[in-house]
Amino acid sequence: MGSGPLGPDPIRSIPYRSDGSREVPALQTGAFFVSVARHRRIFGACRYNRAVREQIVRGAGLVVAIAYASAITWTYVRQPETVAQVTGGLAAGVGAYRIDPQAFADGLTFFKNDQFVEARAAFARADPAEQDARTQFYIAYSYYRQGWGRIYSDDVLFSEGLKRVDLAIARAPAGRLVVDDPNLQLHSADELRAELDAGLRRDASDFNPLRVMRKRK
């Protein structure tokens, strides 16, 4: 107490006499008055700064804790399995997520050539966090085309396709996804989902011999 940027308090530094009194100069005169006033103003400012600093620390801590708690809630709701999904999901949350355009183009090329396994590998590279609805749509479509058959469909591939198209719908704004690609016959995620769902269903139409005439979409 009593010392600061200007040294000790001018009044407190005046020594006491043996009878307990001390000679304090008249405050209204000259440099001594200015010195005392400056000293106390700076001490007041220090106290003020300490209080403000504490408020800033508390406010920043509150913001950080709320952001962290939000990230935890997001994690438990979305159930990411890889670090890429965590970082990509958080980036998508603030609108900063971008897919790799080169890998996506590679995937499209493989997809058009009916190289579905290669296409899915490229699409997975393009969208490692599984946050892009269009990429997930193409992955689902690749499962559909690979699993489609004239006599029967591959249930495992169709099930994977159904999962992916559900993911694409979940990632699309308001759940609506339409892809303008002339190479596709199913342009919306809803159509693709219905097709995959129909392929997994067992009913009397499965025994219709005219099924062999149908075409892959």
Partner: protein, 219 residues
């Protein structure tokens, strides 16, 4: 308690425990929220902390404190609750008879702690023993019984053990890192609980017998 500890250190420690306490690596849904029973146990942990003076809620939330400080205190209390629930959930075996037994034992131990009202050092020691025992049971003993690795003799013995116990003891195999992860989280939890603001004590003037000074709560 300093503003940094209240605003940063304690919330971040407890939130980290709450986040990773539910992690089950390798599972299809790797992030497990706490069970309802672990929420009940967490309430009992909070009550035990307050009754023992390990945690003074009025030092975190009080009418005389500014709004931001009270908000920091609320975050500490909520994150402590979440971390307690996740730690107890993490230490409870997932299925079978061990899950039931550990759940009942934890409940009885916490109830006993509440009734006994120990002081702060004793409660911290008690927590260390309870969490340490549950850790050893789940991540050492039961994990070794569920370990798919090992020679033919071990697998035959485990199969016989499984038959003898009607499959009620064996657990799903844990990820190799799960035990290490849980160990770190338990240590973090105990350290964070020790950092909570304790209730104020006063020392009685008269010395009791055996040269020890009695402590009396003043809240």
């Amino acid at each position: 308690m300093s503003a940094v500890r209240e605003a940063f250190i304690l919330p971040l420690l407890f939130l980290t425990i709450a986040l990773f306490g539910g992690l089950d690596p390798g599972a299809p849904a790797p992030w497990n929220p706490p069970s309802l029973f672990s929420l009940v146990l967490a309430v009992m942990v909070m009550a035990a902390l307050v009754r023992s003076g390990t945690l003074a809620p009025d030092r975190l939330m009080h009418g005389s404190r500014p709004i931001v400080a009270n908000a920091n205190g609320l975050v500490v209390l909520l994150s402590l609750f979440a971390a307690s629930a996740q730690v107890l959930n993490m230490l409870t075996p997932r299925s079978g008879l061990p899950s039931l037994i550990v759940g009942v034992v934890l409940f009885v131990l916490l109830l006993n702690t509440l009734v006994m009202s120990p002081d702060r050092p004793r409660l911290l020691r008690s927590f260390a023993v309870v969490t340490g025992s549950a850790f050893v049971l789940k991540f050492v003993i039961l994990a070794s019984l569920a370990d798919p690795e090992g020679g033919r003799t071990k697998r035959v013995l485990l199969a016989l053990f499984d038959v003898a116990t009607l499959g009620t003891i064996s657990q799903a195999p844990l990820h190799s890192a799960a035990g290490y992860w849980a160990f770190v989280l338990v240590l973090l939890f105990l350290a964070a609980v020790a950092l909570l603001p304790p209730a104020s004590y006063r020392s009685t003037a008269a010395l009791p017998p055996y040269g020890e000074r009695a402590l009396t709560r003043t809240e």
